[in-house]
Symmetry: C2
Subunit: 202 residues, 2 copies
DNA sequence: ACCATTACATACCGAACGGTATGGATGTGT
DNA sequence: ACACATCCATACCGTTCGGTATGTAATGGT
């Protein structure tokens, strides 16, 4: 064994986590089968229940690590680090609407899927998911507020409400596109959202 | 027995259907327990499986009869029969945003819940739900088109895309409000949607 | 009045589920 | 080299699930 960038146990945990994410993304959390996750990874129950005490803990770990990590890398950081946040927001919306592949469309947003399924049933899930949702809304709100300072967003805009709506509509667009199984519908829908954000500008 | 407005079997079917709707609305379809539905109604499996061949058929009946009936009575008919459809659309959005009770917020839109959960898993569900979604979108689109004729909607508006976005954002607002468990957030969000529709007007 | 169909109740089935108890292998610090 | 915790595999458990087979009471047409 010459080199091993990560320790074996962590690798196992990662594989389980990724497989769990896929299974949950496809089936939803409740319908997600532990047996399927194990079959995908080749591990057994001993491994899984060593790293995660319950199925719920596994689900929460998927949310906090995989899902949050994805959105953070794709949206939150980009908005926070941009010098022209409004422009960046519009770009993200445009790009997402244009180049989201069919499979992602059909499976929907992992965050939204879990929110719709689990929030009324499990408080831990609700809190965990809401934290991400509020983070998302906050990132958009900060982008709009900074846009105000830069005089590209109208001064009469309620940035908090607008940000909440942008995130809501965003999720809504993913949701309907998922049902229609149409990337084209998603593009059309996101174009309207683009128009809404533009309408907030000077 | 002096009078009986409905036949006994139909009454049984209705009770089962309503109980099934409630259970599905609370738990989702897959997690909805046949046993719970039977416990709620006092019937047994013999009754349920006499009226519905499978759980899937029960779910589809809930969609086609209960859910569609609800949306049709609340939205589709109102839009179709109105002389000033755009005004009516804005009214529905305003009223919905203002007076939706907390319980409805927390459980979310039954249509959206089922779409997110079932569309990728079951084609029959997908088709059934999409039919309602397209109906909804069509009703809004017709309202906007008639608004164009009445010269209250700008002539450059893409009514199809706008209608798709309105429905998407609508569902999105319900979704986020459901997670935040906040009727106030729903009101704020729907106010923004109201603003979007208004921005389509002359 | 008779018979067939409808409308339910009861008891039961196989499968899949999440979770656990136990045991062995593999490092790891001392 | 020894003790010990970490890591994972195997076998098993109780429960719940959707669905079915069978039986029986009510109903409705003739």
């Amino acid at each position: 064994m010459v080199a091993m960038d990560a320790k074996q146990p962590d690798l196992t945990r990662d594989k389980l986590l990724r497989a769990a994410f896929g299974e949950i993304h496809r089936q939803g959390f409740q319908a997600a089968s532990i047996a399927n996750i194990l079959a995908d990874t080749g591990f057994t129950k001993g491994a899984l229940y060593h790293h995660f005490p319950t199925k719920q803990a596994l689900g929460l770990a998927v949310i906090e690590e995989v899902i949050y990590g994805y959105l953070d890398g794709l949206i939150f950081k980009a908005l926070g680090e941009s010098d022209r946040p409004v422009e960046t927001l519009l770009e993200i919306i445009s790009i997402s609407g244009a180049q989201t592949d069919r499979e992602s469309i059909c499976l929907g947003c992992p965050l939204n899927n879990l929110m719709q399924e689990m929030s009324p049933l499990d408080e831990a899930f609700k809190d965990c998911l809401n934290a991400i949702l509020i983070n998302w809304k906050g990132a958009v709100e900060q982008a709009l507020l900074r846009g105000k300072e830069q005089r590209v967003i109208r001064s009469d805009v309620d940035c908090g409400a607008a940000a909440l709506f942008v995130v809501s509509a965003w999720e809504g667009c993913v949701g309907t596109a998922k049902n229609l199984q149409s990337a084209e519908a998603y593009g059309l829908c996101m174009l309207q959202l683009h128009g809404f954000v533009s309408s907030l500008m000077i």
